[in-house]
Symmetry: C2
Subunit: 319 residues, 2 copies
């Protein structure tokens, strides 16, 4: 693995041919927005490109891919965006593309799996780095590119609310508005639209909230039965993870979402006193200091026990 | 009433003496943030100043006033910030200060009650205008001033989510971060902290949600009994108003909050198809195109009937 600068990544992409752009599984706004932006940038300089992901893209992000074509070609360059670990590509994609030529990422936990890595760990979103790369390529920022960049930044910063937001995040957002990103529409779709079913689910989630360790930890258990009862999909309820940490006095917010009969995906959100990434690493996961994730096998009770044991350990350390 | 430019307002404030800064009643982050910013700006050039408001400031905005002194003096200059109508000062303040020397505001509905008015109706927040005025005064932006400006912009734009957000809003936010506004702390306090009681209230509110006019209108009724049951104050539940409009397909979101035995305060939030300000004007209120308010007398059933009659009329027009 060799580290690349912004300029090196830009040069390398300008000279690339037939590029496949890979997103991480359970795609979020940053991996999709970054992919959308670089796709349009590559197309605008006449390159062949397509975007691939192990999972289908959530409907509310459909606007990003309205003008993305599904072109068939044998790729000669494989680019991963916002993918911290090759495992996060999903087994099928990993098999199909065993060699990743370049990874552009902002996760400090990036495993260095790609041939070349452009990593800016203090960037709020991979999309910010993509903006710098695309600018360095000399590509004109179109409204589509701007929409991708804005979406990546807005989603990874919780619409400029999370502590990873920097002055640069705001300044790039301002530029993206001027380049024609339809931010009012994006914000409405991404942050301000709930289906009636989603609202029913949130009511359920609030009712099932549990407190632990003198209210320093709050947990929302989400079973497949509960999702089915409310008529929501796994992707639709992504943002529920932010809820438990919002409660006054709660230092660790947990959301346990049942992926299948075998286990749960756990989202960990912490306040400054605890390192979410360190908690998740104990269970084979990873992420950022305030927001991380891991997967555990077992029933809800078993999953709860596993994560609560780790959380207890961390809370005792910081008491 | 005479209109003032940024520079005229700056000159006039620099020459002012013994300034009282007035916020509107039911104070929000913009009126308080603006007041905090200009207070510190005036103090920094050696003027006497104090902030007054008909209602007490919500606890979560306490950080704004940590270093604001309660100085006693006979005012020689009265400044209103973010106050669209002198009625919004509250009866007591109106009586105490019958003459308002200068009003700095961004509401298109401003009634022109002040001797001089600096109005920028396309500004997302009054705080943005205050930033321009303070800069024009040549005052160095301290972390306290920056905190006030950032809070005003962030709260009035729903943390850069609402359609009133402009590139300038983002750029000023970036500058305020660099001037030392503790934005992570502000965002956590203002947008990301809920008490257990607040969460209990939200569960209640979700359970009592009503739909009208083929789900084009959603309404949350909030009675004093409901607030009491959940242990929340009127100020704490301010942001519930954003909820009903978020539902897919809902064009008009209504929140009816019982102020006392005599009546309700109604918050109206609309999507692009309806003018919230026009709806509220029909009932003696006002505000912005997407977010406005009014007050109606009567029981919950009577209040519902009054506002739903008006909403129906508007929805029929836009069908």
């Amino acid at each position: 693995m060799k580290n690349y600068s912004i300029e090196q990544a830009a040069q390398c992409l300008k000279q690339a041919k037939d590029v496949v752009i890979l997103c991480h599984q359970s795609p979020d706004g940053d991996t999709m927005g970054s992919a959308c932006a670089i796709y349009h940038a590559l197309k605008s300089i006449g390159l062949r490109a397509r975007v691939e992901c192990a999972d289908s893209f959530p409907e509310k992000f459909g606007f990003l891919f309205e003008e993305v074509q599904k072109e068939e070609f044998s790729p000669r360059f494989v680019l991963a965006v916002d993918v911290a670990d090759e495992k996060l590509l999903g087994a099928k994609i990993r098999e199909k593309y065993p060699r990743i030529d370049l990874c552009i990422d902002h996760h400090p936990s990036n495993t260095g799996y790609a041939e070349h890595l452009l990593l800016e760990a203090d960037s709020a979103a991979a999309a910010e780095i993509l903006f710098l790369v695309i600018s360095s390529m000399g590509v004109e920022i179109t409204p589509q590119i701007a929409a991708g960049i804005y979406t990546g930044i807005a989603t990874d910063t919780g619409c400029f609310k999370f502590s990873n937001t920097t002055p640069r995040s705001h300044r790039i957002a301002a530029q993206m508005m001027e380049y024609g990103a339809p931010v009012a529409r994006i914000n409405e779709l991404v942050f301000d639209t709930k289906t009636k079913n989603k609202l029913a689910f949130e009511t359920c989630a609030l009712e099932s909230l549990e407190y632990y360790f003198e209210n320093r930890c709050a947990l929302i258990p989400v079973t497949m039965a509960m999702m089915e009862r409310c008529g929501v999909t796994y992707e639709e309820i992504d943002d529920i993870a932010a809820l438990p940490r919002q409660i006054e006095g709660v230092e660790v917010g947990l959301t346990l979402k049942q992926r299948d009969e075998h286990g749960f995906k756990i989202s960990v959100r912490t306040k400054a006193s605890c390192d979410a990434s360190a908690i998740c690493r104990k269970l084979g996961g990873g992420g950022h200091a305030r927001a991380a994730g891991c997967a555990v096998e077992g029933t809800l009770e078993e999953a709860k026990e596993k994560i609560l044991d780790v959380v207890q350990e961390f809370l005792e350390e910081t008491r």
